[in-house]
């Protein structure tokens, strides 16, 4: 019999091997925490809170990791988009005061979504300007990139002070989104549930776009080998800019959610989470969206559980997690960028 025919039928494209080990870390961590926390209802509350926090961190970090993976630019000024998103939502809330105070849940959710939409549009536009003015001249020069994006961050943070003043501004959640849902003994804050849903939605869309569409294919190919994609006749520059705009808009979205979560606005809020975001994308593997998602959830879970079990450790827990993960996988959970 002919071996050629046989190999032709069996040798198709090599199947992409999916690495499930990091994904398993999440349920394992949850299960380990359950006996430690002791009470089931407390555990549910903690876990939901952690998931909400994880989703917000993911939203804020995903843009950064995409930009890094594709453009090889580490934007130290990413936190600025978070801050701007939050402050812009304040402006959007102005004319919507009626919706915010109303007892109609749909109007409340509408107000939140309107905030998000406006914030994403503004931060997307800002991202475009930032890419053109600040980042474009320094592609390929890491030292300058770090310095220049830091500089951009300082200037932008000061501009927030100029426009909105230096004192923290309180931000109230829409009426219907306050309070908690109680199932059995477990209390889950409504807003956190919404954050989880939104985060999952965005992750789902991103996953689909990256894996099922031509744009996603080009983006992933661009991460692997930009010159080749360019040589095949695609304008990778335009793709770069597009990804940067989307990344900034996502940071803006994360900023809105984060601002409502903290209920106060400060110009430095973006920079404060920047450290957390860096930790998340290091854990996830630079440039990987899936890794970023898992990293964000892991960081949030660990922070919440240790916050309950050993409050003194909570603030440093994410660093310990990062060290542990890097000892296991020095490149992060899902290394993408091979540079």
């Amino acid at each position: 019999m002919s071996t050629a025919a046989e190999t032709a039928s069996t040798v198709t494209l090599p199947k992409v091997r999916v690495d499930y080990l990091p994904v398993l870390l999440v349920p394992i961590l949850m299960l380990v925490a359950l006996p430690l926390v002791g009470s089931f209802s407390t555990w549910v509350t903690l876990t939901v809170a952690a998931l909400a926090m994880g989703m917000m961190i993911f939203l804020m970090a995903s843009g950064l990791t995409l930009v890094f993976g594709l453009m090889d630019v580490l934007n130290f000024g990413h936190g600025v988009f978070i801050s701007f998103g939050a402050y812009v939502s304040l402006v959007a809330l102005g004319p919507l005061a009626g919706w915010v105070e109303s007892t109609n849940l749909w109007l409340n959710v509408g107000a939140l979504l309107a905030c998000i939409l406006v914030a994403m549009l503004v931060t997307g536009a800002l991202g475009y300007a930032f890419e053109r003015v600040v980042i474009r001249p320094v592609y390929g020069q890491h030292l300058k990139q770090i310095l220049i994006t830091m500089g951009g961050m300082i200037v932008a943070e000061q501009m927030i002070h100029v426009i909105w003043g230096a004192s923290p501004i309180p931000l109230r959640l829409p009426e219907g989104l306050r309070g908690a849902i109680v199932i059995g003994d477990a209390a889950m804050e409504k807003y956190r549930v919404i954050a989880v849903v939104l985060g999952l939605l965005v992750f789902g869309v991103m996953h689909l776009v990256l894996n099922r569409t031509k744009i996603g294919l080009l983006i992933r190919a661009g991460v692997e080998n930009p010159e080749m994609v360019e040589a095949l006749g695609y304008k990778i520059r335009r793709l770069f800019v597009g990804v940067f705009i989307v990344g900034s808009a996502l940071a803006g979205l994360g900023g809105v959610l984060w601002a409502f979560y903290r209920q106060t606005l400060t110009a430095g809020m973006g920079m404060e989470v920047n450290v957390l975001i860096f930790i998340v994308i290091i854990i996830g593997g630079l440039g990987s969206v899936g890794g970023c998602f898992i990293g964000a959830i892991l960081v949030a879970l660990v922070a919440n559980y240790t916050g309950f079990l050993a409050p003194k450790l909570a603030l440093g827990s994410s660093i310990l997690l990062m060290v542990a993960i890097l000892l296991w996988r020095p490149q992060g959970l899902y290394p993408v960028a091979k540079r």
């Binding site: 030292l143 200037v155 002070h161 290091i282 603030l315």
Partner: protein
């Protein structure tokens, strides 16, 4: 000048190489050396002492950023270790010289060990990765310092007494010298000034030694330096340790001056940003840039605000919207930030580099 000239050996052969730069540096040196007599009063002396400390801190950072091409965000951590070394020794033991010495030595050893650890763990990776990791480590350290209430005093920090000779009540002579009473405060200033001068000359010696040349080779092309047979990781780690040690001493001097150490004055990220601004505006890769950067920045911090406040008030009384906010006294960092971005683009060599180019 002749190679065996004393100035030549003091400066390690690294002259300002620009008449303007030489003149400016001399003015800074004279002003700092005679600060208590030239500018009487506690505020100007405070500014002068801060400039001395920051010259050392910025020079030590330049050793990393400018000479070796390493971007670290953990520099304030070492500065803080120095500060806390003094604070813990002075607060828990009697304020004597031996206790101070022990505090400084322990801080130095701790800082250098930590620098070595960070270096060996992460200096192999790319610049971007190292920057992120140091940022994370530094923020962890800041958290640690504010959480360990019993040792560091937590968020409130520690106030303490320093050896008697350095206290304001101490008098060296009964009579005033040139119209100024030489008290412990002025002695502290001179201790800071002379240590800063010594450390600066030492740093100059380091960067102009064969070791310093290797660091510059690594900055230009680490792959080629490795190929030439230099162990890049070793050189980077040593540079990291040296720079950490110097930053620790800067922290010690600042702690002696302020007689207070807390997270906000030593570990905050704002200080890290200040250092970056000073290095880049002064000029990366030249230690004289550290002097100019620190002097300009701290003078701006202390005096530009007043000017801006006046200007802002004028605009406000003229009834122009938004502009008064742009020139508000607290917005001086905005203008320095813009200067920073512009200098990274248009004169990456900084003020010192620009002055040297103009000479040619």
């Amino acid at each position: 000048m002749l190679p065996n000239n004393p100035i030549h050996s003091l400066l390690s052969g690294d002259y300002p190489r620009s008449r303007v730069l030489g003149a400016v540096l001399s003015i800074v040196l004279v002003c700092l050396a005679f600060a208590p007599f030239l500018f009487p009063g506690s505020q100007p002396l405070n500014v002068a002492a801060k400039i001395c400390v920051f010259v050392i801190l910025v020079a030590s950072y330049d050793l990393l950023l400018g000479y070796t091409g390493i971007v670290s965000f953990a520099h304030t951590m070492f500065y803080g270790i120095g500060g806390y070394g003094v604070a813990i020794a002075m607060y828990n033991f009697s304020p004597t010289w031996p206790a101070l010495g022990i505090g400084i030595v322990v801080a130095l050893v701790l800082a250098i060990l930590l620098a070595l650890l960070i270096g060996l763990f992460s200096l192999r990776v790319r610049a971007i990765f190292f920057a992120m990791i140091t940022l994370a480590v530094a923020s962890a350290f800041a958290i640690l310092a504010s959480q360990l209430n019993e040792i560091t005093g937590g968020e409130d920090g520690r106030s303490y007494r320093i050896p008697e000779m350095l206290r304001p009540a101490f008098r060296l002579f009964d009579e005033p010298v040139m119209g100024v009473m030489i008290n412990g405060r002025i002695l502290t200033y001179y201790l800071i000034f002379l240590s800063a001068l010594l450390l600066f000359l030492l740093a100059l010696r380091v960067v102009n030694s064969p070791f310093g040349r290797v660091l510059q080779a690594i900055r230009e092309n680490d792959f080629r330096a490795e190929a030439l047979g230099y162990r890049v990781v070793v050189y980077r780690s040593v540079a990291n340790c040296l720079s950490a040690g110097m930053a620790t001493l800067a922290g010690v001097l600042m702690a002696l001056w302020l007689r207070y150490t807390g997270p906000d004055t030593t570990l905050s990220f704002a200080i890290m940003i200040d250092i970056l601004l000073m290095v880049v505006i002064g000029g990366m890769g030249t230690l004289y840039g550290a002097v100019l950067g620190a002097a300009i920045f701290i003078l701006a911090q202390n005096y530009l605000q007043v000017l801006m406040g006046k200007f802002s008030g004028m605009l406000e009384s003229a009834g122009i919207p938004l502009l008064p906010n742009l020139f508000h006294a607290d917005r001086w960092l905005l203008w320095l930030g813009i200067l920073f971005v512009l200098s990274v683009y248009f004169f990456p060599v900084g003020i010192v580099g620009k002055l040297r180019q103009m000479r040619r």
